[in-house]
Amino acid sequence: MLLKIKRVPTVVSNYQKDETVEEGGCGRNCLSKCCIDGATLPLYTCKNLNKSIGEKSEAPVKFLESLVLGEWEDRFQRGLFRYDVTACETKVIPGKYGFIAQLNEGRHLKKRPSEFRVDKVLQPFDGNKFNFTKVGQEELLFQFEASSDDSRIQSFPCIPLEADSPSVVAINVSPIEYGHVLLIPRVLDCLPQRIDHKSLLLALQMATEAANPYFRLGYNSLGAFATINHLHFQAYYLTMQFPIEKASSLKITSTNDGVKISKLLNYPVRGLLFEGGNSIKDLSDTVSDASVCLQNNNIPFNILISDSGRQIFLLPQCYAEKQALGEICSKLLDTQVNPAVWEMSGHMVLKRKEDYEEASEEKAWRLLAEVSLSEERFKEVNTMIFEAIGLSSHEVAEEEEEEQSSMNNGFIRVHCPSVKDEEACI
């Protein structure tokens, strides 16, 4: 049985038309062969970072941040966005976690909903559907890449769009917050929406380079509310802590490369938190391994890159499947909140005034709890993931048990990883 749901897709580009209507050729200044010759775009090359750099939130605004904000404000003033997101009222919902709600009636058009297939996380790229080669060049802000050596950060205001695989940063014309951009790795390669090691690393490098804990990157797989099947990450600025960042976590294990994997506690969504690693690449590769495993097992998921690239949340979900099978109660469906990565992290964009006025921590919690995998399913998924990462499930189970016994009152135990023998405690 083919599982589908009806949704009004988010318009991320001014050139994104109804899926059924298709225009050939151009004059739209897009990225396809018809327009790309002679196209130029600023290029920002960051160092291929080996270690997370020290970030201080009182430190001066860094270059990349100025580039993103300056170019975004330029497009903002030129009227390229469908609405002024700063005119959308927003508030913190009172409660322990501080869920963030926004009233945004303009984000979702009153269009006829399209059908989305939600039973396959891996779907081949379809050039006929909207993809990022069809965006207007004015929607692109700059090219972004990591240099292959330890060279200095470089920036060039005007450089030809490289013939070989440029990665670009574009605006999202229906922003959730100010500065909402899309990172599109190797845009001309037309990669479908699926995680690969190189691309996730690029996203992590961008988070690290931005060096601002309030600039997060997110990813939605197909089936977890990605609307466009062309590989992209999203990012925006919000000077608040996300509820998911406040949740405590319980360490499950560490990989040989020093990547610490924990599970979230006291949060409505069950998920994994990856941090540490001897290098950014180690962290990125571990998460990629886990993501690829989920993809191959057809489990939809979202990724949140937080704390300037130091923390990565991996959140498997099953909401779309439940929706297609009619298992979601109408009250929740009526809010039309599609729990993508930002919602999962605690930032809720609400379409109806009554939902905004009556928003409560309890309601947010209830919605996200529906999205989460069950405890048993989550355990199964973890087993799969740990195998894929190369950790024997036997090791992991032991560590989990030990941790469990020391966690009786939520106390985090002292852990000194350098020692093997336990009897010499005294």
């Binding site: 009182e58 993103v68 904000l69 700063t86 060039f156 600025y237 000077t239 106390f411 009897e423």
Partner: protein, 401 residues
């Protein structure tokens, strides 16, 4: 440190940072604070970079730095690679929400060696205006003897045992609850303490350490309160009135302080649209002091030869709530009283309510426009200031107190 080394220490603090406490608490405050035995620091959120403006002798001894090396630094200076991210986040959010916080934290001394301490920070409010004047932070070193406080809940009944005697022979060992409880440890010094410290995920402070922190905070606060009475501008530990509408929150000021270009924020809702914030760069560009510009309308920058039609154009844009860029002749208060061409960009800025709360004005001195190929285009740079202000203002009113 040899004399030669001492003289090469560069003081990082500015006059404003040095004078920060004196202005509010009179010239005798530092002497009074020096009489306290505790380790503590005092910061001023209204200075760019949220710097430390006072560090107690105890603090200096604990960290191994001299006063000149600490004043002007942000508190993060003492953190390092193994400092727990979650704790850093907790402190950052407490500052942003203008509330107190108590958390164990790993800090680093000048020598590079790490140490655990209990970090307890409180905001100090102006009694009259509810503004956060300073943050006071107390640091109580944690002895590490009492990191496991929940032993009674696991396994055997050990309620009769005194927890403070459970010292681990070597802090490098992984703790195994089951085994440990059966063997009562003798108090032993941790030799390779410092080696393993960094790898500890957490280090809980003892009850007595927590009490010491509270006592220290109260002592510092009472000294500050007493001296603020003398200067007539009282402070207190609680907020007695809601911050005035025209009062920027300290967290907004901290965010704005990250923007290094010249700009001002004006409030269009107050008669004559006064300046409510001016960046350091603005003061440098125009040659005025902060107290001379706050509360004033920007017209003091115009003079005889300023084109009135340009002024009119700006006024129209403000009324319509639109952005505009103009080239306007401004008169500085610099030593040479020179005039300069100001490429000024103004734009309305909304806060979390969605309504316009301020106007931002970004000044670029026309002659200073660099067109270095490696830098941002001047237009982009100017707009990036607007963007950064929007991001800062958007969240500043979302704080729940």
């Amino acid at each position: 440190m040899s004399l030669a080394e001492e003289s090469s220490v560069v003081s990082v603090f500015t006059e404003e940072e040095e004078e920060s406490l004196n202005r509010r608490y009179t010239l005798w405050i530092k002497e009074a604070l020096d009489e306290l035995p505790h380790n503590f620091t005092i910061t001023d959120p209204f200075l760019s970079g949220h710097p430390i403006v006072f560090a107690s002798l105890g603090f200096l001894k604990m960290t191994g730095y001299s006063r000149a090396e600490v004043i002007g630094r942000n508190g993060k200076f003492f953190q390092g690679p193994k400092t727990n991210r979650r704790s850093i986040m907790e402190i950052r959010e407490a500052i942003r929400e203008e509330r107190s916080v108590q958390v164990s934290l790993l800090n680093y001394r000048k020598s590079g060696s790490p140490f655990w301490m209990l970090f307890h920070m409180i905001p100090v409010f102006g009694r009259d205006d509810g503004k956060v004047i300073n943050f006071v932070a107390v640091q109580v070193p944690i002895s590490g003897r009492d990191h496991h406080r929940k032993l009674t809940s696991v396994g055997d009944d050990v309620s009769s045992l005194d927890h403070s005697e459970f010292v681990f022979g070597s802090c490098r060992r992984e703790v195994c609850f089951g085994n440990f409880v059966q063997h009562r440890a003798l108090p032993v010094e941790c030799d390779d303490d410092e080696q393993g410290l960094e790898d500890w995920e957490y280090c809980e402070a003892s009850e007595s350490e927590k009490l010491r922190a509270v006592e220290a905070i109260n002592n510092v606060l009472s000294v500050l309160t007493r001296y603020s009475e003398l200067s007539g501008r009282l402070v207190c530990g609680k907020r007695y009135c809601l911050r005035g509408v025209d009062c920027l929150s300290s967290s907004l000021v901290i965010s704005l302080g990250r923007i290094k270009q010249s700009f001002v924020l004006t409030n269009p809702c107050i008669p004559d649209m006064p300046i409510i914030y001016a960046s350091d760069a603005f003061l440098t560009l125009t040659g005025y002091k902060r107290h001379e510009v706050l509360g004033q309308n920007c017209r003091f920058l115009s003079g005889v030869d300023t084109d009135s039609s340009v002024l009119y154009e700006m006024k129209e844009c403000i009324l319509k709530g639109q952005s505009c860029t103009v080239q306007i002749l401004n008169y500085s208060n610099r030593k040479d009283k020179s005039t300069f061409w100001n490429l000024l960009h103004i734009s309305p800025v909304r806060n979390a309510s969605g309504k316009t709360a301020y106007f931002v004005g970004v000044q670029v001195e026309a002659s200073c426009r660099n067109t270095e190929s490696k830098e941002l285009r001047p237009e982009t740079k100017q707009l990036s200031v607007v963007g950064a202000v929007r991001v800062a203002v958007r969240s500043s009113f979302m704080v729940t107190c």
